[in-house]
Every structure is written in structure tokens, then in C-alpha cells.
Subunit: 215 residues, 2 copies
């Protein structure tokens, strides 16, 4: 049970945190290994590139400290393991290089089994073939009392919402229309899915919405 | 020029104010004259049905007064004329009845000419066949110093954004996934369209984002 206290202690939450455009895209059109964020997709992450916490996790120095960096650093500190979709892994593997910015276990949901990949800086990629429930369950085990962070992409987050696996969804709403690309939510089905807005944080250039599925 | 001071005085703004789901829909699937908001589409307007200002414009008594009703009443008070798409008119004509909730001139963008329709309570529907620029220009003239409100639907608002006609976009973001329906923005094209977030107002069950196109 999410967030439940067990004999082993308190379990962490399953969270997702993603930047999204006003027209609902999490990457631009034409995404692929040579164009990981798609055309114009970098625009969605502009608010994060200058932040101290983001720069540190990417091996860079300096950067700003403000409510945005607090948010990013807090999420990073709470994350004990990550889950990601195969498309995000394929797009990211090369740009992330030898020392990917996760610094912890990453469970990659895929349909073809593959040996684990051990990278520098504590990041390990483990390939999971037993569906989104299996990937999240393995990430929970790896995370211990910390949170499981669903790193993306859109389809993976959508699957977690649909399966009722997500405890928190942090949307970083960027006031731009991308015009096309990879949607976060599309054609979810014939039912409404209700959320509660737990917190709204307004920063220059981005509005952070913390959402919890209504249970 | 939008908002410019002319010899005739200050011109009003061109605004749009619309409720949208987390997955970007302004109406549910299957919308039509018999189902004006589409399946599940009423959910998007739940936050507004109990407000005093909305109830008054629909000929109903009572209702709540809070920051949401201030927002709705302020927009109504500033609107001197309305613009709407043909689909919204077709869907709304019957449910609005003899006394539609606009109480002012409404310019309906259509491709087939038609005689004006005069309704009770000050609402007149005039059908415009010379494109979105023509409809907004006629609405400006009718509105005088007051604002032109682009009432909808999604396609009409999208056209106004694309043509650079909109001064303000007020999104009422409702924390629900509708799963399908009429999108506000879809496939806008190969350029980003930038906005500035002028104000964020968080209420129970809805977050109001006031956006201005960056010029």
C-alpha cells in the first residue's frame, strides 16, 4: 500500500515530476536518440538548467538557489530509485554519458530482456520485462524508505496513473505552446481520473502544480 | 492595436476565459447539439455552477461569493461583446433558450451567411463570414471601450491565438483527466508560442492561470 507503515518501517511514495507545455507536451516532435527532447523540447526545461541542484546532479558547478531549486533538490533527495520507459532510456542513454544524473538504481520497463548496465556515480540500469507493476514493485524494493521517482517519459507516467500506482504528480507547467510532440496524457479512456491540487507554486517562467490522485 | 489609446479613447482587450482539463480538453467526447459539453464535460464547469455571478447571468438566484465569483463577475462586467465559433453556437443554441447568458452582442464565425438572431435579455447573434479577423474586428466595434470576450470553443480560441489577436487567456485548470474530447490546443504548428503568466490564483478544485502572449 502506498505510504503505508509496515513492520519494516515507512514506505516511500511513488512520484513523478515532469515539465509540460500548455498544449500538454513533454517533448517536442521528432524525438529520438539523436534528438532526445524533440524539436523545441529544450524550451520546457529552460527553467531548470540554471538551478544549482540540477547542475550539481549533472556534474556542473554554480547555479541559482531559489524556490525552484529547493523543489528540484528536495525531489532528488527523496528519490531512492527511478522507473523509466524504454523510449526515454533509448533517447537518453547517449546524452547521459558515463555518469548519468540519477545516482541510484533505475528500473527500465522494456519488452526485451537485457543485462543490467552499471554506470559511474551510482547509476545502475536494470531492465524489467514484467510490466509497469513489476517495474514499480522492484523500484520500491530498491528505494527502501525513500521515494520511487517515475522519471518518464509521458507514456510511462500515463501508465502509472492508469494503473493507480502514482501517489504524487508534480507538473512543471511552462507557459508555452510547443505545437506538437510527445503528449503527457492522450486518450486515457472513457473515465475521468480525479486529482487533488495539493500545492501551487508560481515562479517566473514556470508554475508548479503538485497533484495527488483522489482515492 | 490591442489596448492602445486612440483618439476615440482606450480600446478594450481581446480576452478568452475557458475551463480546461489536465489533459487539455475543453469539452468531453461526443459533443453536439444534444450533448453540448460532451460526455463528462460538465465536470469542467463544476467549479462555476455554484457561483453567484454565474447563476445571476443564467437567471438563477443565490450562490457563493468568493475569489472565483469575483473572477467570473469581473470578466462578465468587462465584456462588451463576444465572439464564438460555429460549433459552440450550434451546440449552445438550444440549451441557452430564449434568454442566453451573454446579454450583449455575440459575433458567430461561420461559413454560411445567416440573418441576425435577436434574443431576450440583450443577446444578439450576428453571423460573420469574413474570418476570425473580421469577427474580432466587428466585436471590437460593438464592444467600444469594453473587452471582447472570445467565448469559445477550443478551435476558435486556437485560431485567435494563432492570428495574434488575443491579449489575455484565462485558463481555469481543473485537476481531472477527461480521457478524450475537444482539445483546446492541438497541432498548433512548427513554432513555439510564448506566454507570460501574469497571475496564478489557486482555489479549491480549480487553478486560474492568467496568460498573456509574449510580444
Amino acid at each position: 500500500m502506498p505510504g503505508a507503515v509496515t513492520q519494516e518501517g515507512t514506505m516511500g511514495k511513488v512520484t513523478a515530476s515532469i515539465s509540460v507545455s500548455l498544449d500538454g507536451f513533454v517533448a517536442g516532435p521528432g524525438d529520438g536518440p539523436d534528438n532526445p527532447l524533440g524539436d523545441r523540447g529544450e524550451r520546457l526545461h529552460q527553467w531548470v538548467y540554471g538551478l544549482a541542484g540540477w547542475r550539481e546532479s549533472h556534474g556542473l558547478e554554480g547555479g541559482e538557489r531559489n524556490q525552484d531549486s529547493d523543489l528540484v533538490e528536495d525531489a532528488m533527495a527523496r528519490a531512492g530509485a527511478f522507473v523509466m520507459g524504454r523510449r526515454m532510456f533509448d533517447n537518453g542513454e547517449e546524452p547521459w554519458g558515463d555518469e548519468p544524473p540519477f545516482h541510484g538504481p533505475v528500473l527500465v520497463l522494456t519488452s526485451s530482456p537485457r543485462e543490467p548496465l552499471v554506470k559511474k556515480g551510482g547509476t545502475t540500469f536494470t531492465f524489467v520485462t514484467d510490466g509497469v507493476e513489476g517495474a514499480v514493485a522492484q523500484a520500491r524494493e530498491a528505494a527502501g524508505e525513500k521515494d520511487v521517482s517515475v522519471a518518464g517519459g509521458g507514456q510511462m507516467i500515463q501508465q502509472c496513473v492508469r494503473a493507480g500506482l502514482l501517489d504524487e504528480l508534480q507538473l512543471h507547467l511552462v507557459p508555452v505552446l510547443l505545437g506538437g510532440g510527445v503528449p503527457l496524457f492522450r486518450d486515457m479512456g472513457e473515465e475521468t481520473t480525479e486529482f487533488e491540487t495539493a500545492r501551487v507554486l508560481d515562479s517566473p517562467g514556470v508554475t508548479h502544480l503538485l497533484l495527488r490522485p483522489a482515492r
